[in-house]
Symmetry: C2
Subunit: 450 residues, 2 copies
């Protein structure tokens, strides 16, 4: 397995090799630390993390709690995924027999449906009876959808039975959302019987969740981890800022955005000078809630924000399900220096429970190293990136080993997963101060052991 | 993965396909049942199970609690093995940092040393600092052993420090035995500090353990499982009997053996008649304690026992480490109808914690379908048998799918593992009635939920 091909990392110069060495020298400390963290914090059922590897910096840029690309994982990743799902089921509800999967409403996207089929296969292999229940109002009776390769999915309408959500003749112990609830929290899922486990919890949906809250938690996790392995936390953490009252259709109101972009670019410039990095700093402006690569732009200078044309402004103003964007996160742009088949590539790490179960490269031949790759024209390359993220090879030369590169991607992916665990604890509406999105009180803030 | 090659099962006629169908139709019930069993019973740290597939019958014939063939697993099995070991460490001692591996004494067997190296890799990848401590008295200082492929092992002498077993500058939290203690329980491992976890426990060693106790527990497990999937327990369970006072060098004293062989052959004959099986029944006589395929013979008629020549009798009388055999188990012989590369083959399933992590075929071209294959001249074929034992494919035609065959092997392997868990509970010297090898009292007998 040491002969796996690994994408060329154009900028793999001094700092990244030093960083890799630090991680590989600290494997026992890192794994011990993760074990203790997972005693304190409950991992989400699943998640995927988009990473960007700039050579001088390796950082998560997005953390998805409703991952939609399981079909892009290599077949080789399946056994580990099933094993991890078994662990999750044993932990959450060992007595479970029936699981209800609630997918996105857009039931005509074949790629997404293949993801649902792959999830059904993983979950069924753990020995659960799995059925699919849709939130789509137009779905009024059980409907069979044919997929490429003779696969078929039966999607059924959800019903409410007292405090439980059910299908006809199917009362599930576990309801697993693969729907990010961008359109709001559906009534049918509210106030469920505590015996019916809903995963992830409703406040993980994008109508409640904010990227800036996630990255605030990640700040903490990255800080503690950086102390453990003795690196500058900036090497694994993108700087960010937030504006809560943006109206893209009224440029005058965007002073906050212009000033935050300016300050963030200055902070990045300073870091680049410290490490003698010859890149042009940039930031990514995106909706603080939401997904699917919509409402994202690359900005190299604050003046670009004021100069947006009408089309660009409209594009930024509305994301998935027609939601208006008023809250944005401004995130340090991390250039991607990985290339796969001549396209700029970014690794996406998939996790179930606290285990990395695989990943792939998102590749976009039409985009630059400083652009969002989650856009039409992208494709996915599972590469050698199956479930070999837990096999560091301490004897390999720095920079040369795919196993080591993927192990490190798995470590950063798990840091983001841990941040998501903290985020879900802190923003749990059951904790005071969480529902109004104010800062959590210190009494509800779990400590992160260093 | 559905195109994996699968060895030809010559006798795959009616009954085995019916059995396969029953198992595949019951996957949710089976996995649910296993989950509940593992709430009640603690799985051994690891284990391997030898299976024999007769077509009409699929049964474990040996269960090893100190598995020695991890090097025979496919490289593809490594990620699942690491993940399972992580689960085991999290369960047993999440705070563990250092693990001491105690291998067999015979440090010159390259195959065995490759197994040790593979175990070190799996355990190190979980983030534990792993070192190797030897019980061999001739090893008085740290010794580096070179292995094929530039790999090296550092083996160090064990020391005792108060109630802890240590190496120089290495005080481990966990001591993992890969030594089956055939020669007796070494003093250096006795009476350890309860904070130093010894795995498997000392009473798993062959100086205490008896195959007949294991198969008594397996009887129970197989009975409960057979009710669950509604098959005759005999289809997954070899009949057996035991003689406690055998002296192979004094044929006159072996009345017990002759009569037990006779009775067992009659019982098998009856089953063969019931299922219209056109095979000649046979039994395997082997030492009730011990391993390595020594002291094993195939018997088709009780008269063969009385007619043993001197050489055969000597061979049966002494097993590994010069131990004399006085207790034997007489086990129903399960012919193996699987062939790999023209050699008779039997699957060996490897497990860590409660997960199947891989397996291989033990192949012996010079042996018959009714003979022990664990003998000089055997070789190992990891085949497509990596970690795909948890991916049943309910849509495949019965008998046609490697995934389904391996899933079923994994199920039977886990039944034997569960029997080993029961065995270790019941024969724990901490429970009354266990040390004298009498039947455990009912108060120490954990119930097996059906």
């Amino acid at each position: 397995m040491s002969t796996l091909s690994v994408p060329n990392l154009a900028a793999a110069a001094g700092p990244v090799l030093e960083f890799e060495r630090r991680i590989l020298d600290s494997v026992p400390e890192i794994e011990h630390w993760f074990r203790l963290q997972w005693l304190e914090h409950t991992p989400p059922f699943y998640g995927s993390v988009d990473l960007r590897n700039a050579g001088f910096k390796l950082a998560p840029v997005d953390m998805n709690l409703f991952p939609g690309g399981f079909n892009n994982l290599s077949d080789d990743a399946l056994p580990c995924a099933v094993q991890a799902a078994q662990v999750a089921v044993e932990r959450i509800c060992p007595d479970a027999r029936r699981l209800l999967l609630v997918p996105e409403r857009h039931t005509r996207n074949v790629h997404y449906l293949l993801n649902v089929a792959r999830l059904v296969r993983i979950l069924s292999s753990t020995g659960l009876e799995v059925r699919i229940g849709s939130l789509a109002e137009e779905l009024t009776e059980p409907t069979t959808i044919s997929l490429p390769g003779a696969e078929r999915l039966l999607v059924e309408p959800l019903h409410r039975n007292g405090r439980r959500v059910v299908l006809d003749n199917f009362d599930p112990c576990v309801v697993l959302l693969n729907n990010d609830l961008s359109a709001g929290t559906p009534e049918i899922l509210q106030g469920l019987d505590p015996d019916q486990t809903l995963l992830p919890p409703l406040h993980a949906g994008w109508s409640v969740r904010r990227k800036s809250n996630h990255f605030a938690c990640y700040d903490e996790v990255a800080g503690t981890f950086a102390r453990l392995v003795q690196v500058d936390p900036w090497m694994i953490n993108p700087l960010f800022a937030r504006c809560g009252e943006v109206d893209f259709r009224d440029t005058a109101s965007n002073e906050c955005l212009v000033s935050q972009v300016d300050q963030l670019l200055a902070a990045i410039r300073e870091k680049y000078q410290t490490y003698d990095i010859q890149q042009k700093p940039f930031v990514i402006v995106k909706a603080d809630a939401g997904t699917y690569g919509m409402g994202i732009m690359t900005v190299h200078d604050a003046s670009e924000v004021a100069a947006l044309n009408r089309k660009q402004r409209n594009k930024m103003a509305i994301v998935k399900e027609g939601l208006h964007v008023s809250e944005v996160i401004i995130q340090e742009g991390v250039p991607s220096f990985e290339k796969v088949e001549h396209g700029v590539a970014e690794p996406v790490v998939y996790m179930i429970d606290r285990y990395v179960v695989g990943g792939f490269y998102r590749v976009h031949p039409g985009r630059g190293i400083d652009e969002n790759l989650n856009a039409p024209g992208m494709h996915f390359v599972p590469l050698a990136f199956h479930c070999s993220c837990n096999l560091p090879d301490p004897r390999a030369a720095p920079g040369a080993s795919a196993l080591n590169r993927f192990y490190i991607y798995g470590v950063i992916g798990r840091l983001a997963l841990l941040a998501a665990a903290l985020e879900l604890e802190r923003w749990d509406p059951a904790n005071s101060g969480a529902t109004d999105r104010g800062a959590p009180t210190s009494s509800t803030t779990p400590a992160l052991a260093g």
